[in-house]
């Protein structure tokens, strides 16, 4: 695990270095670029709050992907699950007239159920018919996209706009006055607490429970799990359902926390960012938490950098992309680290050393 932390940090450092090179190559000052980028995310309480708020849906979408990964599945349908989760929660939030303390839990549950429903379909298809979950969950993204497109217009249309849903009432959003005040007017909301709690719950499930043990066993080696009497197909369905439920919660946080309505015709990019977050976080719940916050920092800082310098905001996106490349190719970094360690170890053994590299041939005519 320690090794993974080093690798992720290396990926970040390389990404930032590459970003600096990009800035220099396009004729900008990398130093001031980065200082504005980080200031934009961290300068004052409000900006820190916004960074955390940006990170919140990423924590949940990253966790959703990571959970699936840990159990041997690739859930690429997080975007659709976010959208459906958010939509279901919004319908309930607009339709039920309950006090906030009751309404919010109901919305969270319904949102999680919506996300789970959307993920369970690929899970069932995989378990029953061995359909690869990547294909089916991408399909479900678009089914979700159009279902919500239609659903928003027919159920919860905003009277003053064709392309968005009604504004959620105050009782149906995760915004909390004390949090907003604490961070001097930031749009940070209770979603962050939800995300942190879910991180803890998932870490517990994965590492400490028999349930997590089963799911991971199926993910690592289906044949051995079957041999041990674990219900393999059921585990696959459960894994997808839980992964989808996490994503559904992410949807609630996005559409009833950071925002207070749904724009139709947009498949949320946070769903795909979840893959990157999970990769950088080494599929570990706490790693996901940290990497999501880091991504949140880059996303919320890039606007400020753009405003203060003439560095295009795409540079920040490029940095993110490069970091993803480095964490995806972690094996390269691992090899580098190993070579580095070996060189140090070899230097220590001052004993007799082997001869120089000679690619001398052996005669074939012996």
């Amino acid at each position: 695990m320690n090794n993974r932390i080093v690798i992720s940090l290396c990926a970040v450092v390389f990404g930032l270095l590459a970003g600096a090179v990009l800035m220099l190559a396009t004729g900008h000052n990398a130093g001031s670029g980065y200082s504005y980028l980080f200031e934009g995310g961290l300068k004052n309480a409000e900006r820190i709050g916004n960074t955390l708020a940006t990170a919140t849906p990423l924590i949940l979408s990253g966790l959703s992907v990571a959970f699936a990964f840990r159990t041997g599945l690739f859930n690429i349908g997080v975007a659709g699950q976010l959208l459906v989760g958010g939509f279901c929660a919004s319908v309930v939030g607009l339709g039920l007239d309950l006090p906030k303390v009751l309404l919010l839990p109901v919305m969270l549950i319904v949102g999680a159920a919506g996300g789970a429903l959307w993920a369970v379909v690929p899970g069932l298809l995989k378990a029953r018919f061995n359909v690869h979950e990547v294909v089916s969950s991408i399909m479900m993204n678009w089914v979700g996209f159009w279902t919500v497109y239609y659903g928003v217009q027919s159920l919860i249309k905003n009277p003053s706009s064709e392309t968005e849903s009604k504004q959620l009432p105050e009782a149906a959003t995760l915004k909390a006055a004390w949090l907003t005040d604490l961070f001097h007017g930031s749009y940070i909301n209770l979603g962050l607490l939800v995300a942190v709690v879910i991180v803890l719950v998932i870490a517990f499930i994965i590492n400490k429970t028999t349930f997590g043990y089963e799911l991971k066993a199926v993910g690592h080696n289906r044949d051995a799990a079957e041999y041990a009497g674990i219900a393999v197909n059921r585990s696959i369905v459960y894994s997808m359902a839980i992964s989808g439920a996490i994503a559904g919660l992410g949807g609630v946080v996005m559409y009833a926390g950071n925002a207070s309505n749904i724009q139709i015709g947009i498949l949320p990019s946070q769903g795909f960012d979840g893959i990157a977050v999970s990769l950088l976080g080494a599929n570990n719940p706490f790693g996901v938490l940290l990497s999501a916050i880091f991504f949140g920092l880059l996303y919320s800082g890039r606007g400020f950098m753009n405003a203060m310098t003439d560095i295009p905001p795409e540079i920040a996106d490029s940095i993110i992309a490069i970091i993803i490349y480095f964490s995806a190719t972690s094996i390269l970094i691992e090899r580098l680290l190993r070579r580095f360690k070996r060189r140090r170890a070899n230097a220590k053994i001052a004993a007799v050393q082997e001869g120089k590299v000679k690619k001398s041939y052996v005669d074939n005519d012996r």
Binding site: K208, T209, T210, F211, Y213, K216, A217, H220, N221, D223, A224, A225, E226, Y227, A228, G229, I230, A231, R342, A345, I349, A351, V352, E354, G355, K356, V357, K358, K359, S360, Y361, V362, D363, N364, R366
Partner: protein, 508 residues
Amino acid sequence: MDYVVEMLNIRKEFTGIVANDDITLRLKPGEIHALLGENGAGKSTLMSILFGMYQADRGAIKINGKEVRISNPNVANELGIGMVHQHFKLVENFTVTENIIMGSETRKWGVVLDVKRAGKKIEELSKRYGLNVDPYAKIEEISVGMQQRVEILKMLYRKADVLILDEPTGVLTPQEIQDLGKIMKNLIAEGKSIILITHKLKEIKEFADRCTVIRRGKTIGTVEVADTSEAQMAEMMVGRQVSFKVHKTESKPGDVVLKLESLNVKSSRKALALHDFSLEVRAGEIVGIAGVDGNGQSDLVEAVTGLRKAESGKIYLNGKDITGIPVRDRIESGIGHIPEDRQRRGLVLDYTLAENMVLEVYHKPPFSRGGILQNQAIRKYADEIIKSFDVRSGEGAVSSARSLSGGNQQKAIIGREIERNPVLLVAVQPTRGLDVGSIEYIHRRLVEHRDKGNAVLLVSLELDEVLNVSDRIAVLNNGELVGEVRAAETNENEIGLMMAGVRKEARA
């Protein structure tokens, strides 16, 4: 220049384990040199160093008297060293030729692949060394023995002079082993030198000229095979005297534990693999299943353990019908299973040893309470198995199962299954790839398990093992029971004929 290869005072350390400690191996030109050692003695590590997959921490390698540094397998290839790995490295849906030329393709006009020319060359090589390989067959269509010969051809094609064969006989039938012996003789007759990694003394006696024995990472000595007995070599390898005979008392069969009634099982290819099969295994006896690989053994085992559905027929355990019940219920009713393929079925390689030791019991107290894993209890249980079955690993119970050598993985699985004390133990190839010391030990544990009043169903491709360990032997041919014999009243010949499908009454 007396030696082709000299590995002098090689040392290699991995985290927590010294795999090679001051090992010296000298290979003469034109000899078959056996490298003998127990599982985890450091044979594979040493050869990986010679083949450039690892670098030695200390020591020197000389090829034809010249000191060299082999930094990767390509360098080894250039130096004329080739290796046939225990697990073949072939692309299943490529032809023999395509597999052999991969990485050094012959080309026409610099860009177009010239398979034809390569095919011809391979055909010539195959003839010259008596390998009998069809260059245009696809790998997935040829037998394991031929796949191995493809690997040998691959090295010859790359002009290797020193061939390393890593446990080459583990996957072969007795006939194929004899063929391999002939091929090795052909190879040395043509001036090649061979390092044969093995722990099978019989084969060393039969094929090798000299033998270097290593134990726990150290060289014990190099001997002339002709002047050394099997028992002497075994003692050098294990460090104590070993008996080849399985000591056991007469079996005292009790009640029927497993009863199979006209069982029909379809294979994964949907063909009928087990046909109208009936068998009884009683408490306190070991019933061996003999047969050539692929004659329905796996299907029988999977049907009994619940991994495969029986088409028709009944399976009873202690009189209870278990035909349709799921795997877990069978485990709970007392079936233990040492699977044929330890890496595919037996272990979750990415789990730690401790996690693997509770693979079937993790959901029960004391290993979990209220759905929460109890790591301390798991750890304690694993430590006990590791200790009593002498499972060697870098970091004990927390080592990942992947990091263990094959033999230690096997010992861990056997320990796990026997520790659960099942009334019926289904042991499939339990000593595959193990050294004499471990084989002796495992056979003893199987007999002990029998003596505690349990039933053991032993499925093995090693005829010696079936004959030595079993009390009764059932012979399978083409999915049918050819006959049953008492082990004490039969011999290799009779069983061999039955394995070929000749029924007892037909001969009378």
